[in-house]
């Protein structure tokens, strides 16, 4: 169930030299929720603070130390020219760059703008649209720079964040699950909301890691961890249709926090299966 991350991580040299590695936390287009997951590690926060030098984390402290940094945690997606340039600079200053959360790893809910009339939206939403400078798209960090590790979720799982930091500090392998949310759901002995209640659920195509949180509260999974290792989106769509969901409602379900990820996958799978 737990698996080695796809990207082997080269741990910062500073650890070998017995120094506390420096940690920076950066924000792009996002809600700050993933950064708060770090601050939410109440019991472990002091242990974290004791083992890393928190060099840049405006959400938590006004003290700022110039780079380079051993580890950068990056939250949010790229939505402006300014941010597209800023992430290049952060990459240059970071030995290890870890993206945290669905905005950073998949573009976030703000990627709903992609392929739509952004100027039209701006003119409706803002009194002075002429003040707004924005890109037509919201894109994941990995579209702009090399990313060493992605932690998914909206928000991320704080257990995964702590395991990442522990792996980093203690130089051991990090294992993150790549299987479906169903595996975690069954392990915690939650009754399947789709089979037993007829509730639409993206659990079977979504990557585990949250501990099957939503189904444990009788809610369907909304896919915030993005696609699992081998998601069969067309087959799930068929079943959601049998549960009474209209096509447009299935589209909405698949287009939330990982806006384009599921839809693109589905199209690829449909194309693969079409008779040539």
């Amino acid at each position: 169930m737990q698996h080695t991350s796809a990207t082997p991580i080269a741990w910062p040299e500073s650890i070998e030299h017995g120094q506390s590695p420096s940690l920076a936390v950066w924000k792009f287009a996002s809600c700050d929720g993933c950064q708060l997951s770090l601050l939410d590690c109440e019991d472990e926060l002091m242990a974290v603070a004791g083992r890393v030098a928190i060099s840049y984390f405006p959400e938590a402290t006004t003290a700022m130390v110039d780079g380079p940094y051993d580890v950068s945690l990056v939250e949010g997606s790229i939505t402006t020219e300014h941010d597209a340039a800023r992430i290049l600079d952060i990459r240059r200053q970071s030995r290890l760059l870890v993206t945290i959360g669905a905005c950073a790893t998949a573009g976030g809910i703000q990627a709903l703008r992609n392929g739509r009339d952004v100027d039209g939206f701006t003119s409706i939403v803002y009194a002075h649209p002429e003040y707004i400078t924005t890109l037509a798209t919201s894109t994941p960090i990995a579209d702009h720079v090399r990313v060493d590790l992605e932690l998914r979720g909206c928000p991320i799982d704080r257990g995964q964040l702590l395991q990442t930091l522990a792996a980093l500090l203690n130089r051991h392998a990090l294992r993150l699950p790549t299987t479906s949310v169903c595996i975690e759901c069954k392990a915690r002995q939650t009754s399947c909301v789709m089979v037993a209640h007829g509730t639409p659920c993206l659990g079977p195509v979504t990557q585990a890691g949250c501990g099957a949180l939503c189904p444990s509260f009788h809610r369907g999974c909304y896919g915030c961890f993005g696609p699992m290792e081998s998601p069969n989106v067309p087959a799930l769509r068929t079943q959601l249709g049998l549960l009474g969901l209209a096509g447009v409602d299935i589209d909405r379900l698949l287009n939330t926090f990982n806006t384009t990820a599921f839809a693109e996958l589905e199209q690829t799978q449909i194309d693969e299966r079409a008779p040539s």
């Binding site: 169930m1 702590l162 395991q163 294992r175 299987t179 069954k186 392990a187 009754s191 087959a235």
Partner: protein
């Protein structure tokens, strides 16, 4: 006539020694609702934990119970491929339901099981093996298929050269109160895939809930000395012969309810590795692993290591794994069962085919859990049937 009916008709028509107080030992006792309360109170005093069927979150599940009031009185369920719905019957029957997702596997081979903790002390690493405790558990509501699945699971975990200590401890503390199945789900096929719906071995106590015209009664028989001593301490009345005849009638009527069957050539056709039908299943299969989680005999596990932030402690936990996971087959160069077709084929061909080579029997008991709890309703009996059809020349 099917095997379980032969066993049953032997019991009923073969002049069983029903026995009388003060004479022959009693083989069949009768319990009324009040006796059932006394019985569960007795179990509560005898065992650390009593687990039984409970209607919770719209599903009948095996959970710790406090008294007979927790049993799913008046509930039943409707099951189909990929669907389960809890229903109220308006009766006072307590065990008139088909299988839920929990089997005895959840108890003897739990989803997460501690293996060891490790800590650094004076420059050395100290490993403390996990203690699995000696909790004793009485489980009420195991069906015949659950008992058979426990046998199969036990052979996989303790039958070979190496015994799994956690399984052995959990199994040793288990006291089984079987309830004869009176309500097979449409997804079950134990009459062709297993040994049938009536418990004939593997229990300490077995109970038939009898929907008798004069009221609901519980017919009790015992399978072990421990079971006998508990039942005798309740001073129940011996069961009248008419009740046993009624029980036989009730069981016979169940045999007409099975609509699914496992084809006889299952063990052979699942080995047709190049059959095009594997790709057909793969188009529907989500590779989510629900089938292996609810299967009462699927036993595969992985290890999950958690290291403390301080690097001074680590814990290893054994967790359920699934052959539907790509990483399950990760060897040096990477996963070798990358296609969903290869993973479904691995599961089914082991369960119904190579399990025979490995353990001398099938790994399936016909409980149908994988059919009900598959989110897209894949039915292994139908897949086996398709695999048995001749491949068309141009397929």
């Amino acid at each position: 006539m099917r095997r379980w009916l032969e066993v049953e008709s032997g019991v009923v028509s073969g002049e069983p020694s029903i026995g009388q107080p003060g004479g022959q030992p009693i083989d069949w006792w009768v319990m009324r609702a009040g006796d059932l309360h006394r019985f569960i109170s007795l179990l509560k005093s005898e065992f650390d934990e009593v687990i039984g069927p409970v209607a919770v979150d719209g599903v009948i599940r095996l959970r710790p119970i406090e008294s007979a009031d927790d049993l799913p009185t008046g509930f039943t369920e409707q099951q189909e491929t990929g669907s389960y719905r809890l229903l109220e019957t308006g009766t006072s029957l307590r065990f008139s339901y088909g299988l839920g997702p929990d089997s005895l596997k959840s108890i003897v081979h739990p989803p997460r099981s501690p293996v060891w903790t490790m800590r650094r002390h004076d420059g050395t690493l100290i490993v403390d093996q996990a203690l699995h405790g000696t909790t004793t558990r009485a489980v009420i509501g195991a069906r015949a298929c659950d008992l058979r699945a426990l046998d199969i699971l036990e052979r996989t975990q303790t039958g070979g050269q190496h015994t799994d200590p956690a399984f052995a401890v959990h199994r040793q503390g288990l006291f089984l109160v079987a309830i004869d199945c009176s309500h097979p789900a449409p997804t079950c096929f134990c009459d062709t895939g297993g040994d049938g719906p009536v418990a004939d071995h593997g229990y300490d106590i077995a109970i038939t809930e009898l929907d008798h015209p004069n009221g609901i009664v519980y017919l009790v028989r015992v399978g072990t000395d421990h079971g006998r001593s508990l039942i005798e301490s309740l001073h129940l009345a011996p069961a009248p012969r008419t009740f046993l005849e009624h029980r036989d009638h009730q069981h016979r009527s169940i045999s007409r309810e099975f609509i699914r069957e496992l084809p006889k050539d299952a063990a052979k056709v699942v080995r047709l590795a190049d059959h095009p039908h594997w790709n057909d299943v793969a188009e529907r299969c989500l590779t989510c692993g629900n089938c292996t989680a609810v299967c009462p005999t699927c036993f595969c596990t992985d290890m999950d290591d958690i290291v403390g932030l301080d690097g001074e402690t680590a814990t290893r936990t054994r967790v359920w794994d699934t052959c539907f996971s790509m990483e399950y087959s990760h060897l040096g160069p990477g996963p070798h069962r990358t296609s969903p077709a290869a993973r479904y084929r691995q599961w089914l061909s082991h369960k119904l085919g190579t399990w025979h080579d490995q353990f001398g029997e099938s790994g399936c008991v016909g409980c149908g859990r994988c059919i009900t709890w598959c989110p897209v309703g894949i039915d292994l009996t139908a897949e086996v049937e398709s695999l048995g059809r001749p491949v068309e020349a141009n397929a």
